[in-house]
């Protein structure tokens, strides 16, 4: 009796995995017929190019067309094309989770749940199954150790307000970067707008992308980055550039960057296959190892010299609030910083 149950069970299991495999094969087949997938992404150029090549090597014959820009530009592009009736984008990926609330509300996303996300923590998942956090990073302070000794370097968000930093800091822009949009909201919730008003007195160098401060700090153009993508600072540091990253004790903004398939995706199967791929342990582990990113995948391990997220005080903001306050944040930031 027991034996037969066991047999039946294993038969079921085999049948189930066979169907799963068959489904996979069918998806790959269908994706190959579509030949390509168009990815609008805010992931840094070297990282997104790397991921695309990883996919193209695994699934020969499917081209990944990467179009990288800042999160807000990706949204602008997507909306401009939709309003002109152009169907070009397959996958939308930005670091402003609010975008996905907006796109979902407007009915512009396709519902699709990749297999691997089941084990992901709640903060990486949309409860209705439209978008999922593909990667996570932090917005941190960084400085150039060749110019600043460790003991004089800023260690906390409030340290950055000191007038001695006048003309020595660089900030990225929430009107371009989703990471910075999240950063500004997280800090406004902690310290209020007065914090940024005071910060602006230091005459900051204004760049667009959250990745750009890494280069500005490393070159010494400005010795202190008052924000920026932690993964890009880390990558730049690993290339031998003079950068030190500070994870302020007051809390570090956590940025989870979602990905979703466009409702009118011209290559829906390739889009699904690519989405499945980016959530596999293989791809997620590569993002952690080579790009210095955090992920929602529970089995992924991280480089020894990166802090464990649990050891940090994280400042998370809700996608809904990001969506609601997007315009306010852009407007006030421009008001304080001039452009």
């Amino acid at each position: 009796m027991k034996k037969s149950i066991g047999l039946a069970l294993s038969a079921l299991l085999i049948a189930w995995s066979a169907t799963a495999l068959a489904q996979d094969a069918a998806l790959i087949e269908a994706a190959k017929k579509e030949r390509k997938v168009v990815w609008y992404t805010s992931l840094a150029i070297p990282s997104s190019t790397m991921l695309a090549h990883l996919f193209m090597n695994k699934y020969k014959g499917i081209e990944v067309e990467v179009h990288r820009s800042g999160s807000q530009r990706v949204l602008q592009r997507t909306m401009q094309e939709i309003s002109a009736g152009i169907k070009n984008v397959d996958i939308i990926h930005t670091s402003d989770a609010g975008h996905f609330v907006l796109l979902k509300d407007k009915g512009l996303l396709m519902k699709y749940v990749p297999k691997a996300v089941e084990s992901f923590p709640a903060g990486f998942k949309d409860s209705d199954g439209f978008y999922y956090g593909m990667r996570a990073t932090l917005s941190v302070i960084a400085y150039n150790p060749k110019i600043l000794a460790d003991k004089e370097a800023p260690q906390a968000w409030k340290d950055l307000l000191d007038p001695k930093w006048r003309g020595k800091q660089v900030t990225a822009h929430p009107g371009y970067s989703g990471i910075i949009m999240t950063h500004v909201l997280a800090l406004v919730k902690e310290f209020g707008w007065d914090y940024f008003k005071a910060l602006a007195q230091n005459k900051l160098h204004l760049v667009q992308s959250a990745n750009d401060p890494a280069g500005v700090v490393a070159s010494g153009e400005r010795p202190v980055g008052v924000n920026g993508a932690e993964y890009f600072y880390y990558k730049t540091l690993k290339q031998g550039n003079p950068i030190k990253i500070v994870y302020p004790k007051e809390g570090v903004p956590l940025v989870v960057s979602p990905t979703a398939i466009a409702k009118d995706s011209p290559h829906p199967n390739a889009a699904k296959l690519f989405t499945e791929f980016i959530f596999t342990k293989e791809a997620q582990q590569t993002l952690a190892d080579r790009e210095g990113l955090y992920t929602g995948h529970p089995e992924v391990t991280y480089p020894k010299d990166k802090p464990v997220l649990k050891a940090l005080k994280l400042l998370a903001v809700s996608p809904d609030e990001l969506e609601k306050r997007n315009e306010e944040i852009k407007k006030r930031f421009v008001e304080f910083f001039g452009a």
Binding site: I45, Q72, Q76, Q208, S219
Partner: protein
């Protein structure tokens, strides 16, 4: 006497054409060209006006009111005026000095100086601006580092991320316009009046100030207006140098209004003052040049002698070298260095040397190939079609082929009043909706480039046809050839070199265009300039340097091969 004779001949000829009109099979071609032109201009500009006054329900002035109520927008207008005025002044000083020196003095290496001025002309201003961020960033900039090393000082010599920095860089890439105007005038000016002053006992410098300068005054003012308008319409340089310092100009502000959620009504309302300013200035320029203009200066009859610079010869030459270093040598050097370095701010040692920027750009980075194809496709297409249309219109207006033909000049030159960003706003509104959706294809860029380059193409073609006397055409017409045959056998061969130069001008203008492209591109239709701007926003210095060098190499290859083919200078005027 001669004038009235020429006029009489002109009238006679015009009359002949009119009588022949009925049987002239080429007439539809001329009319088609005219209609095409009206279509390119009227539709986008019309949409700008409509959008700027269209409210939720009916007509409104809200857009304009908001422009003048909102501090940031008003500030951008004000900044733009200050910046452009200074750019105009500096460009006139540099352009006039260099223009005079290479035409009327015994400056050494004049041909080389001309070639280098042409190099500044060919360099896209956004690329120059980018190079200058690496040269004169207050802390990491090479020149400021050199300054600290030499003097032991703490601070910086110059901060390029400032209004002053922006003005200087824009002037460096605007002065060639003034240069070519002044060089032309100086070449046409005979020395008779100067001789008279000399004989009457005036010294060299007094002659220059009291005779030469007043003669050149219309050209100077015209040059100022040209440089002013050029800087008014620039987008890349202010975005790269102004925005980091929290400084908006009208063009960057219009671009910012396209961000989501787009405020097309405000963008349109902000475009209109820019359009009106440009129109007003061009009207002033036309009046000035029209009244006194080149006719005072006269033909090439008189004798010309070179002014001896004497003791100032070497100092002036060094000054010229210095100016060209700022616009050409230093920017090119830093681009080359950045393209070959792992870390651009470090010395280029073996440890810091890499070819990765090149391999990444050409073999890994997905945008490169597509952008190169789009850019050159558009360059060749626009240059070919543009030269064709410009030649047709210039031919019609020059030979007065039908009544009212001279009004065509107006339409061919009209795009001059439309800055690239404004044109793009109009095209965006006009061609993102049915019946004609061009947005999302390279055709919207084609339309933008064609419109934008038409005035330059037309003036080039016009000059060409002016220099070909109609007698030869008349002769073959009398002998029974129809106009197409005449065009093919007589006019085309004579106009060939001038038209190739026109083609070259348009091609170079197209492959460096940014201010219209930035609003009209989609991922499929990205061009190199847009990719460079995208990369700038992410701070990918090495890749930008590689693409910038590519753009420069192609531009120079085109100019030089055309020069070689025609054995004449194309961009600069003849010596």
């Amino acid at each position: 006497m001669r004038m009235s004779y020429a006029e009489a001949v002109g009238r006679l000829r015009a009359g002949t054409w009119l009588r022949l009109k009925a049987v002239d099979r080429t007439l539809p071609v001329w009319i088609g060209a005219a209609l095409f032109l009206i279509f390119l201009m009227i539709l986008p500009l019309g949409w700008i006006f409509v959008t700027s006054v269209k409210g939720e329900q009916g007509f409104t002035f809200d857009g304009y009111l908001q422009v003048f109520k909102e501090g940031a927008l008003l500030k951008a207008i004000w900044q733009t005026l200050i910046i452009s005025t200074w750019v105009g002044v500096i460009a006139v000083v540099i352009g006039a000095l260099l223009g005079w020196l290479v035409t009327r003095s015994d400056l050494p290496f004049k041909r080389t100086v001309r070639a280098l001025v042409m190099a500044s002309f060919v360099t896209p201003p956004f690329l120059g601006a980018f190079a200058w961020t690496l040269l004169a960033g207050p802390n990491a900039g090479e020149l400021n580092k050199l300054y600290r090393w030499l003097t032991g000082a703490e601070g910086h010599l110059f901060n390029i991320f400032s209004r002053e920095g922006l003005i200087i860089v824009m002037a460096l890439y605007s002065f060639p316009y003034v240069f070519s105007m002044i060089a032309n005038v100086c070449e046409l000016m005979s020395s008779d009046l100067e001789d008279a002053a000399n004989i009457l006992g005036a010294r060299k410098w007094r002659v220059a100030l009291t005779v030469t300068l007043p003669l050149a005054a219309p050209a100077l003012i015209g040059g100022f207006i040209l440089a002013f308008l050029h800087s008014l319409s620039l987008f890349g340089a202010p975005a790269i140098l102004g925005l980091p310092a929290g400084l908006h100009t009208i063009t960057t502000q219009i671009w910012a209004l396209f961000q989501y959620p787009p405020r097309l009504d405000l963008a349109a309302a902000l475009s209109v003052p820019l359009l009106l300013a440009t129109m007003a200035l061009l009207a002033v320029q036309k009046k000035l040049l029209g009244r006194r203009g080149y006719s005072t200066v006269g033909g090439k009859g008189g004798q010309k002698r070179l002014v001896r610079l004497g003791a100032l010869r070497i100092p002036l030459f060094l000054l010229v070298v210095g100016i060209l270093a700022l616009s050409v040598f230093l920017p090119y050097w830093i681009l080359l260095k950045a393209s070959l370095a792992k870390a651009w701010a470090m010395p280029l040692t073996w440890d810091n040397f890499t070819l990765h920027n090149f391999t990444f750009t050409f073999f890994e980075y997905g945008d490169t190939q597509n952008a190169i194809i789009n850019t050159f496709q558009l360059g060749i297409l626009t240059a070919t079609v543009g030269t064709g249309i410009a030649a047709l219109i210039a031919y019609i207006t020059n030979r007065r082929l039908f009544r009212g033909a001279r009004y065509l000049t107006f339409f061919a030159l009209a795009p001059l009043v439309v800055p690239g960003v404004v044109l793009a706003v109009g095209l965006f509104i006009a061609y993102t909706r049915p019946p004609i959706v061009l947005y999302g294809t390279i055709w919207i860029l084609f339309v933008a480039y064609l419109t934008k380059e038409m005035p330059i193409g037309f003036s080039q073609a016009e000059t060409t046809f002016k220099s070909i006397h109609p007698e030869l055409e008349d002769a073959s017409r009398i002998l029974g050839a129809n106009r197409l045959r005449v065009l093919k056998d007589i006019t085309a061969p004579l106009a060939r070199s001038g038209l190739i130069a026109t083609w070259c001008f348009i091609f170079i203008g197209v492959i460096r265009e940014l201010s219209a492209s930035i609003l009209l591109f989609t991922p499929k239709s990205k061009v190199i300039s847009v990719v460079i701007f995208d990369l700038k926003e992410e701070g990918q210095v090495g890749v930008i340097a590689v693409l910038g060098i590519l753009l420069l190499v192609v531009s120079f290859a085109v100019v030089l091969s055309v020069q070689w083919m025609l054995a004449r200078e194309v961009v600069a005027t003849r010596e």
